[in-house]
């Protein structure tokens, strides 16, 4: 049986530079990522953290690749007890100009078989990336209540 891998592609009417900023700037991510600020100096090997409104860290990992505005990769795992036996999985973002659009492809891989974290991110990414697309195209993120994602457990 193959190990789980999550792949998601979306097309956004924006520039690679704006999309890059939206993926790496904490002020920006806070608006569309369920309030999470990404924190990193984006140097390969540096720490990567998701910071909640109250300053606590929800997820942590390391920067693996940073080639603005084309490729960004980092590992992370959620730090809650629910996922205490899980290890960081690798999320890679590829930004490709596509006519007047940008094609964004996210591949999230390196999960153990039966990973609960995999199940969680599979529900989270479509909401986060849909809200990102709305924010870049309309100036407004989506208001999706966290509960609407129907996480298990």
């Amino acid at each position: 049986m193959s190990k789980p891998e999550f792949v998601y592609t979306t097309y956004i009417e924006t520039t690679p530079e704006k999309l890059w900023l939206a993926l790496t700037d904490g002020d920006f991510t806070e608006r569309y990522w369920f309030g999470a600020r990404l924190r990193s100096d984006w140097k390969v090997g540096s720490s990567f953290e998701m910071v909640r409104n109250d300053g606590t860290i929800s997820d942590a990992g390391k920067v693996v690749e940073c080639d603005p505005p084309r490729r960004l990769a980092y590992t992370f795992v959620n730090l809650s007890d629910k996922y205490k036996n899980e290890f960081p999985a690798l999320a890679t973002f590829v930004l490709e100009p596509y006519g007047k659009l940008v094609k964004l492809t996210l591949t999230h891989e390196g999960f153990a078989e039966g990973s609960k974290f995999y199940s969680g991110i599979s529900k989270g990414w479509p909401a986060i990336l849909s809200s990102l697309k709305s924010l870049l195209e309309t100036g407004r993120p989506l208001e999706i209540p966290y509960e609407a994602l129907k996480f298990e457990g």
Binding site: Y8, T9, T10, Y11, I12, E13, Y98, G99, K100, L101, P126, A127, S130, S131, K133, S134, E137, T138, R140, L142, E143, I144, P145, A148, L149
Partner: protein, 170 residues
């Protein structure tokens, strides 16, 4: 048609700032679909057993099927058979299901493509390439009033795999 033995092969979820009714309208009318579905016009008889047809801009039938499930504005399941010679005979029918769920002020739209037998990944690459483009453009259309301009040819690996199976493509 019994769809119990169909298994999902491709699932795509997208959240859209729109009402379920607007999303339903976009999925079931020619007027909307022409704008986001590579110029294709969708015609649906909204009842179980009704016809589901997708026409190309020249009027020719590209996809034909039958409505399996129709719960306005929540759930639409149709057979979705591309009109290429021998395709259904060799690959069996394709099933496409749309689920529309409220999620705060937005809706979650989930598209599921299913098949009743094992289908080669090379053949599935057509849908896996196409659905994200179609759904992204549908979202832009409903949120901004303008669809995306996405030009796309069928993936070479799909065309080659169909050719190997004796299925002719345009």
């Amino acid at each position: 048609m019994n769809v119990d033995n169909f298994k999902p092969t491709t699932v795509y979820t997208i959240y859209i700032a729109a009402t379920p009714e607007k999303v339903w309208q976009a999925l079931t009318t020619a007027e909307f679909s022409r704008k986001y579905f590579f110029g294709n016009a969708i015609e649906v008889e909204q009842r179980v057993g009704g016809a589901y047809v997708v026409r190309q801009s020249d009027g020719s039938v590209h996809i034909s099927g039958e409505v399996i499930e129709c719960v306005v504005p929540r759930r639409l399941t149709v057979t979705f058979n591309v009109n290429w010679p021998e395709l259904v005979e060799r690959l069996g029918p394709t099933l496409v299901s749309y689920e529309i769920e409220p999620a705060g002020d937005a809706v979650r739209l989930t598209m599921t493509e299913s098949h009743d037998r094992t289908i080669d990944d090379d053949i599935l690459s057509g849908g896996r390439q196409g659905w994200p483009a179609i759904m992204s453009s549908l979202k832009s259309l409903l949120e901004t009033g303008a669809p995306l301009v996405i030009r796309m040819a069928p993936p070479q690996q799909m065309l080659a795999a169909l050719k190997r199976m004796g299925i002719k493509t345009p």
